[in-house]
Amino acid sequence: MTRKRILAAMSGGVDSSVAALLLQREGWEVIGVSMDLYDYSKVTRDREGTCCSLDDLYDARRVCDTLGIPYYVLNLRDEFRREVIDPFVQQYAAGRTPNPCVLCNEHLKFRALLRKADELGAEGVATGHYAVIRRDSDGRCRLFAAPDASKDQSYFLFSLDSPRLSRIRFPVGAMEKADVRKIASGAGLPLYEKKESQDICFVTDDSYSRFLETRGIREDRGRFVDRHGNTLGNHKGVLHYTVGQRKGLGIAAKEPLYVVAIDAERNEIVLGTDNDTFSEDATVASPTFVSGFPPGKEFRSTAKVRYRHPGAPCVVRVEGDRLAVRFDAPQRSVTPGQALVLYEGGEVLGGGWIECAGTSRS
């Protein structure tokens, strides 16, 4: 008898470890894998809080030893550079604040690992994400937020479509964290908490600007301006700033000033008051939908404009290859470069990348 084989993406953390264990209990032949994405010897050796440091690989290997399954580290450095680092650099240079973790999920964890699954004769890929895949009777797959809202990671998964979801499993996705930990301790697995998308794993010394400089993105000082174009002072280079930022601007004013917009082309940073950081609408580029299609030409939805955003009711209009999203109530710090993810109830409809946000103009 041959058992069905599946790849389990392992971080060494409790969630992916229990995911692998549960699949094993279901009777799968589980192959543990981790991704080698970057030459971490160039980053500080003992950094914590990233997805896949060398220490994490050690932890993952030890978990697989405990489970008695093979463990392979897959070299995906080329893909990572091409699909994550290069776009990150380009986005930053264009004055956006990109979210490389979403790109990594889409291109590496799911696309590249599914290719590896094919190569290794496995049916699919499992991870320790908190999100729920429902398989309809007609074979279509739908994606839902995790019931445990504090753990929900569906935001990072919006770009997965039904065909890909059909080959993905989130064995702990619908579980309570406490239960996951209980299963882990029952099976003698470590209870490490690996952080996801806390720090960007390939950026050294917590300094984006230094990293970007090594990639040939030059730092030019420029002007801080107000919404009318009046000069307020000088900035250190657009790479140092992100929309919504208040600290570290070095500008004295009557009321606190925030970064409202970044104009990389003119090398200007627009500052405004708290009120100015709110947007009523956003344009979303490269939208994708889990079902393959938007639910309509115009539809109501709830949009999350960043991870941990509670979600804002909105109206979405499909305009060519873009979405025009109008929030019912203005939203703070809608940041170009970040993903905007559309939900209906708990279901992920799809999403895309914020291209520009309409600052409320009074």
């Binding site: 192959i31 981790s34 080698d36 030459d39 971490y40 010897s41 060398l54 690989l57 290997r61 093979p70 392979y72 580290v73 897959l74 070299n75 450095r77 590896k116 094919d118 190569e119 290794l120 004769g121």
Partner: protein, 392 residues
């Protein structure tokens, strides 16, 4: 599942007679060889017997053998031992672009400490041309270090000729013979080499023991400082079990090497022939003949080495890709790149290294499995079009 081990350049199984020979040293013979009393005496004798066995194998004097903890340590001792001699600071070393990391990274370390190093290239077939060494040697060159055989391709370097060039220039010659030992003759008496590294576990001994041959009269600074063991050349209580195992292994090699090498060569040639006969678009990395008798390094075009290696592992076949990163994942081999291999070919390269204990059945099983996996992976590759490939 059948298990076939084709990774003898990584390590070899412990010879059953070696396992027997070390038994007493895991129980009653526990003494410290440096002790004067009865407990030390017998153990000291065993260490010196092993030294004599190794000396007999190479044809050197017993006191020219210095035990170390590994082949890597022997390489470090050779290179740093010369570099750290008084008056040598900041001088020049010649080595090649295809050395083992034990030499490569030691040289890089020395470069960071003010030494100059020339890494001579290899030709398209992976062999260092003696002329390049001659051209690289300068007035302040203190050492030439060229491996006897390459670990990834098995290529045999002309160390006799290179050694003569070094000698004419009055420069010390070191060779890393970790892979060559036991597979090709290394007659110490006629070899123009002053320092030679070897390892126990590559020749059916036990991991954790190696050694350096130091030609009589050669000055060398110590790298490990401490007690007077190995006449001050390598401090630290001896790894008695590893050394006894190595002595036994060298003794067995002296007796059986010719017959065993002939058997392994026959199997390797049959393996290679069968693969080339059944799998198109195959590239041999390395020299067709100037090569270790047990090694074959191949690039399977349109297939990633990693996918092939992992699939073979799942079928019970152990082989290797040249180079593993600190994470344990695979990367394109710098050695194949230095040979001018196409980067895609370098990424798709696998090394098969045979050894005693491999059988005709092993080879048949491995060839069938490799053919099956390569066909499966090529069928998935968007780049592979068999008809075009055949037309080329």
């Amino acid at each position: 599942m059948r298990k076939v081990y084709l990774d003898h350049n990584a390590t070899t199984p412990v010879h059953p007679e070696v396992a027997v020979a070390v038994q007493p040293f895991l129980s009653e013979l526990f003494g410290n060889p440096s002790s004067i009393h009865w407990a030390g005496r017998d153990v000291r004798k065993a260490v010196e017997d092993a030294r004599a066995q190794i000396a007999a194998f190479y044809g050197c004097r017993p006191l020219e053998v210095v035990f170390t903890g590994s082949g890597t340590e022997a390489d470090n001792l050779a290179v740093k031992g010369v570099a750290y001699l008084p008056g040598n600071s900041g001088k020049h070393i010649v080595t090649s672009q295809v050395e083992h990391p034990a030499i490569m990274n030691t040289c890089r370390f020395l470069e960071a400490h003010g030494f100059r190093v020339t890494y001579v290239p290899v030709n398209r077939q992976g062999i260092v041309e003696p002329g390049t060494v001659r051209d690289a040697i300068g007035k302040d060159t203190i050492l030439v270090s060229i491996m006897a055989a390459n670990n990834e391709t098995g290529c045999l370097m002309p160390i006799g000729e290179i050694g003569r060039i070094a000698r004419e220039a009055g420069v010390l010659m070191h060779t890393d013979a970790v892979q060559a030992t036991g597979k090709v003759p290394l007659p110490w008496e006629t070899l123009p080499v002053d320092l030679l590294s070897f390892s126990g576990h590559k020749v059916n001994g036990i991991k954790g023991a190696g050694g350096l041959l130091i030609r009589k009269g050669t000055e060398l600074a110590a790298v490990l400082h401490g007690g007077h063991q190995e006449r001050g050349r390598r401090a630290g209580t001896e790894n008695v079990v590893g050394i006894v195992a190595m002595g036994k292994a060298f003794c067995l090699m002296r007796e059986h090497m010719d017959a065993e090498v002939a058997g392994v060569r026959r199997l390797r040639d049959a393996f290679e022939r069968a693969l080339f006969g059944r799998i198109p678009e195959l590239v041999l990395n390395g020299h067709p003949t100037e090569r270790l008798p047990n090694t074959v390094n191949l690039s399977f075009r349109y297939v990633e080495g990693e996918a092939l290696l992992l699939n073979l592992d799942m079928l019970g076949i152990a082989c290797s890709s040249g180079s593993a990163c600190s994470s344990g994942s695979l990367e394109a081999s710098p050695i194949l790149l230095a040979m001018g291999a196409d980067p895609t070919d370098a990424q798709g390269a696998l090394r098969f290294s045979l050894g005693r204990g491999n059988s005709d059945e092993d080879i048949e099983y491995a060839v069938d499995a490799i053919e099956q996996v390569v066909n499966k992976l090529r069928a998935m590759s968007p780049l592979y079009h068999p008809r075009e490939a055949r037309a080329k």
